[in-house]
């Protein structure tokens, strides 16, 4: 069922290009623009460069997906296998199968959308040159993680994303960004160093670092005790990244502080690297060790589901001063709990569900972070109480399309049938109903019940968020007197929510009273100067303007979000597209390459 027949060498080249292209693009972004590509100004040129490179990578990924032999998704395709460091037996072994292809395309897509979004809305912070280079470096690392088939190369790719993400948070983030960036990198690094030990153990004891060979061996080359230690070490590293419940505490901080694009990539792509590692390395290479730890993994996973939901509920309460980004970060903990639960069942159903939930989470949470970023830009804060309290008719009334999209994403996130979020959760719960042989059935059924309860909690907080942000508080608190607005401290925007259009908050161009500049022409002329410079007009502004219309979805925003919405619907209505790819590959991984 190959859609188009593409010769293997072209496929090989495409995959290599997908991995190396962004890396070269990152280097090129740091160099001065060549004549002819200078654009209007250096910033615009480099942002355009980012769009071009990620676009090219996305096209290559799509061509790769089209040329992928869909009849044999279990076999590695587009493989390259050359020796790199013979001393350590490290080979540049690239290849994709049904498990990695969707993740590869998702990564390319999300990065492209992020680049596009940043082109029209440059990140607030230092020069976009470094920003583009870092995003491209990040893309290269994540794509490499999904494409490599060598344990040490996997580790290298896994580590490669740390530095760019650290700088993205540290330089372009919001409040508390430095502490958050530290937390992010220290947690992940501690985990990944332990993971390295596990990988070395597996590699040295089995005599190969090749994932395909390890999967074919299916753990036969490793004694059970080695497998147990390896799973403990590798699993710890992956669990930090995923993140699994007790190790998750870096995630909310990182998300809260990260810039919109950083959050989207972190949630949409980086978290997937952890779960992908579970499926790609631990399940096939150390099944005995996995079986030992599966009940604990599942237990932590369901605790994560419930914990994430409860944390979200707490944040969503009135008066909790919950940050919307933080809330979505906690919801990620819950969603990744489902993914881990699916993996822990060690059944094809569960693992397929996990992989599906992985992709769905990438699409939906990516969209959610985009939307919350947009809301935050418009209001100047993501504080839930401010968003809910100030706005009367709230988003539905003031930016109906934005409100509708937010509601859509929230509903998709809670797992409404017909949207992408549903299938993953359902399949993982199915898988937990009858886990693999050797795993305790009653325990997993208990986990299933708790997980199902978690979906209820998820629905609860998501609906609360939609009600509060989109519909507004029904009992409006008494309007703060206009006297608070003209105070010189215009910087304290949360206190002056009735003037959301105050220039203190960066606004998309169309939000200005005279929307003369069309969004396509002037993104870079948009007022990005600090609020202090424009503060003087504030007192002169009309006293307490009657909540002005917020800018609704801009064309560039629509362009960045539509693909995510469309794919969410598509995956919800036609899950076979994904499951047809993953299922044979999963069957093969679980049965040790025999099927």
């Amino acid at each position: 069922m190959t859609v188009i027949d593409i010769s293997p060498s072209v496929m090989q080249f495409l995959l290599a290009f997908i991995v190396v292209g962004p890396l070269l693009g990152a280097v090129a972004a740091l160099l001065p623009a060549p004549p002819g590509l200078k654009g209007r100004n250096p910033d615009q040129a480099v942002l355009r460069h980012g769009v071009t490179v990620t676009g090219a990578v996305l096209i290559a990924a799509i061509v790769l997906a089209v040329g992928f032999d869909h009849d044999h998704p279990a076999t590695m395709q587009a493989t390259t296998d050359i020796s790199w460091i013979p001393a350590l037996d490290v080979r540049i072994h690239l290849g994709i199968d049904g498990i990695s292809l969707p993740l590869l395309v998702l990564t390319a897509l999300l990065t492209f959308l992020c680049a596009l979004y940043s082109y029209f809305k440059p990140p607030a912070g230092p020069s976009p040159k470094a920003f583009v280079a870092l995003v491209l470096l990040l893309e290269s690392g994540t794509l490499a993680t999904f494409a490599v088939l060598d344990l040490l190369l996997f580790f290298l790719a896994f580590e490669m994303v740390l530095i760019p993400m650290y700088f993205l948070i540290n330089r372009w983030g919001g409040d508390q960004r430095q502490a958050a960036a530290w937390k992010f990198i220290l947690y992940t690094l501690l985990g990944s160093v332990v993971m390295l030990l596990g990988l070395l153990l597996v590699g040295l004891k089995s005599g190969t670092f090749d994932m395909v060979a390890l999967a074919t061996d299916n753990g036969r080359g490793l004694t059970t005790s080695v497998q147990v230690i390896a799973v403990l070490a590798i699993g710890l590293g992956l669990a930090v990244k995923t993140p699994m419940w007790p190790l998750h505490s870096w995630l909310p901080d990182a998300h809260t502080a990260a810039p919109t694009v950083g959050s989207v990539l972190l949630a949409g792509v980086l978290l997937k690297m952890g779960t992908y590692g579970f499926v790609r390395i631990l399940l096939p290479a150390a099944p005995d060790g996995m079986r030992t730890f599966a009940p604990y993994l599942a237990a932590f996973a369901v605790v994560g589901i419930v914990y994430g939901s409860l944390a979200c509920l707490a944040l969503a309460r009135t008066g909790a001063k919950g940050d919307l980004k933080r809330l979505i970060a906690y919801s990620s903990v819950g969603h990744m709990g489902f993914v881990l639960l699916g993996i822990a069942t060690m059944t094809p159903t569960g693992v397929n569900g996990a992989l599906f939930a992985n992709i769905a989470h990438g699409l939906i949470t990516g969209l959610l972070f985009f939307l919350v970023g947009a809301v935050k830009d418009r209001y100047g804060t993501a504080d839930l109480d401010t968003l809910a309290g100030a706005t009367g008719a709230a988003l539905y009334g003031r930016a109906p399309r934005l409100g509708a999209l937010l509601a859509f994403a929230a509903v998709a996130s809670l797992g409404l049938p017909g949207l992408a979020g549903f299938w993953g959760e359902m399949l993982t719960l199915f898988g937990a109903y009858s886990p693999a042989e050797g795993l305790s059935r009653p325990a997993f059924r208990t986990f299933m019940a708790i997980g199902a309860f978690g979906t209820l909690l998820t629905a609860a907080y998501m609906l609360i968020v939609v009600r509060r942000v989109c519909m507004g508080e029904h009992a409006l608190p008494a309007r703060t007197t206009p006297a608070t607005t003209p105070t010189p401290s215009a910087a304290s925007a949360p206190d002056a929510p009735q003037a959301p259009a105050a220039p203190g908050t960066p606004q998309p161009p169309a939000a200005t009273p005279a929307p003369a500049a069309s969004p396509t022409s002037g993104p870079l002329q948009a007022p990005t100067t600090p609020g202090t410079l424009q503060a003087p007009p504030t007192p002169g502004a009309p006293q307490a303007p009657p909540a002005p219309q917020l800018a609704d979805v801009q064309p560039y925003e629509a362009a960045a979000w539509t693909p995510l919405v469309a794919l969410t619907v598509l995956a919800g209505l036609w899950p076979a597209v994904l499951l047809g790819l993953t299922d044979p590959a999963v069957q093969k991984l679980l049965s040790g390459g025999k099927s």
Partner: protein, 549 residues
């Protein structure tokens, strides 16, 4: 002066153990010498010399003498030529390694009895000599325009003399040559540390370094003499053979000798309990000398330790293996914890941080040596590979530090804040070096060098050491990354706080200070090497998987 002659002395001394080893232990040494004169029928006792094999250290030693003499005749304005002379000599010595790369020569061999040589050029020797001479070469580049305030002739002479000793050491295969080479490498280093005349900190650093080093030498010599007494030979391979069956009476003596020798080398490598001299010495010394000590000085200590443990005392592996493992764990922990606790605004905190980091890195370097006790000698290759990576990267970091110290003599960590804004390339280079030291991509070579060390530990069953090292890698990451991050911060605020402290600085700030060419060359060379190695790590990692001896 004595040091310069030491190199020659080393080769001379290499003769004496030969005859001494022939008679049974306790046989009168005088008799042996007399015998060699009298017995004409015996095969010639004069050992043949392979001049090509000993060329690299010899050339360096000769160049040291030439520089010293030339200093007397050169007028002051042309003293600069001495530096270029030293540079050329080191480059030539490096070039002389090329014909030796097969690693199959040895000289000063015993002409009678067993086959044992005092000077061997195997792969280990060639690699370490390349490291040492290359390190000295870069040090010369770093100091080329730093020597105006220092006595040029003495400086270059001492540096070359020390380098010749360091180059002799990895080739030494008997304890006497080893000790002499070690001293030839260290004695000039004391003088170099204290060469800043009238600088109290410099003299103090020299004194500290001298005292600790001399204690180490004394302990080591005692150990060596005990070993000699119990085995009757100084050749490393012979010691290895005879330590197995030492007469029971001398058993304690042999054990004590082995322990004391190892303790001496632990001093030299600045392993944990003996590391206290490092930070003060590095801070007090001229910056290029700190770089030299951190790379070449370490390489000397380590190659000596490797030779002694793996070649001479393999039968005591059950003693030094665990001891070195503990030392390694202790050293890296002490170094990293102290580095984390550095205050960024303290004067010279950058060099101090690099000093502590070098202590920590020494801990990583010890791991494969400890692992060699548990599995095979091939683990040593991991140390060599790691040392090569460390040499390139650390010298690069020192080169950037030297560049920064031109405009900020205080050399605080805070002075690096916003370096990217003023010197983007230097900042990128320093960031790369630091990430290599931390072992994070894009410093791929650093990462894989750490991977080889890890795999040596895991392979040898030293799981606990691997875990300790893993924790240390994370601790180290904290300060490396903090430094890296500060390079890219906005430099706001920093100028105001820094300006009042250094009176003459504000005047120099507005016009952009042009980086001196030698310094730029050093940074470019190390950065290029680091990037090349990151693309093709096999270039250094291939040593990790083969037997070097």
């Amino acid at each position: 002066m004595t040091a310069a002659l030491g190199a020659t002395a080393g080769t001379l001394i290499a003769h004496s153990p030969g005859p001494a080893a022939v008679p049974a232990p306790g046989g009168p040494g005088i008799g042996a010498t007399a015998g060699s004169l009298a017995a004409a029928d015996a095969p010639s006792l004069v050992q043949s010399i392979d001049w090509l094999a000993i060329a690299p250290p010899t050339l360096t030693a000769l160049a040291a003498l030439v520089v010293l003499v030339a200093d007397l005749f050169l007028p002051a304005p042309r003293k600069r030529l001495l530096g270029y002379g030293a540079l050329t000599a080191l480059a030539a010595a490096l070039a002389l390694l090329i014909p030796l790369r097969a690693g199959d020569r040895s000289t000063f061999c015993l002409t009678t009895g067993v086959q044992a040589c005092s000077y061997t050029v195997d792969h280990f020797t060639v690699v370490i000599q390349a490291l040492v001479l290359g390190g000295a070469f870069l040090t010369v580049l770093l100091s080329l325009d730093d020597t105006r305030r220092l006595p040029a002739g003495e400086y270059w002479f001492l540096l070359l003399a020390s380098a010749s000793g360091a180059a002799l050491l990895p080739a030494a295969r008997d304890l006497a040559t080893l000790v002499v080479a070690l001293e030839v490498a260290s004695l000039p280093a004391f003088a170099l540390v204290g060469i800043k005349r009238g600088d109290r900190r410099s003299s103090e650093a020299a004194l500290k370094f001298f005292l600790s080093s001399v204690v180490a030498t004394a302990v080591m010599l005692l150990g060596v003499s005990f070993v000699y007494a119990s085995t009757g030979t100084l050749h490393l391979t012979e010691i290895a053979a005879r330590l197995d069956d030492v007469t029971p009476v001398l058993d304690t003596l042999a054990k004590t000798g082995v322990t004391l020798t190892l303790v001496g080398f632990a001093f030299k490598t600045a392993a944990a309990p003996f590391h206290f001299w490092v930070p003060d010495t590095y801070v007090g010394a001229p910056l290029p000398i700190a770089a030299y000590l951190s790379v070449v000085g370490k390489a000397v200590g380590f190659s000596g330790l490797i030779l002694v443990t793996v070649v001479a005392f393999p039968s005591y592996a059950d003693v030094w293996g665990p001891a070195l493992a503990v030392l390694a764990a202790l050293t890296m922990t002490v170094g990293n914890v102290a580095a984390v606790r550095q205050r960024a605004d303290r004067a010279r905190s950058a060099v101090r941080l690099l000093a502590w980091s070098s202590v920590a890195q020494a801990g990583y370097l010890l791991v494969p040596i400890a692992a060699a006790a548990y599995s095979s000698d091939e683990q040593i290759g991991s140390t060599v590979a790691y040392a090569l990576m460390y040499a390139v990267v650390n010298l690069g970091a020192f080169a950037v530090a030297a560049l920064v110290s031109r405009t900020h003599p205080g050399n605080r960590l805070t002075d690096y804040r916003g370096l990217y804004a003023t010197r983007p390339l230097a900042a990128l280079a320093l960031g790369f070096f630091l990430l290599c030291l931390a072992g994070l991509p894009p410093g791929i070579i650093g990462l894989f060098a750490k991977v080889t060390v890890f795999s040596a530990a895991v392979d040898a069953g030293l799981g606990w050491l691997a875990v300790v090292m893993a924790v240390n890698v994370v601790i180290a990451l904290y300060y490396y990354l903090q430094w890296t991050a500060s390079l890219f911060r906005t430099p706001e605020g920093a100028p105001e706080t820094a300006a009042p402290d250094t009176g003459e600085e504000p005047r120099a700030r507005p016009r952009r200070f042009r980086a001196p060419t030698p310094l730029t060359t050093a940074i470019v060379l190390t950065a290029a090497a680091g990037i090349l190695l990151s693309g093709a790590p096999q270039a250094v990692l291939r040593f990790a998987s083969v037997s070097l001896f």
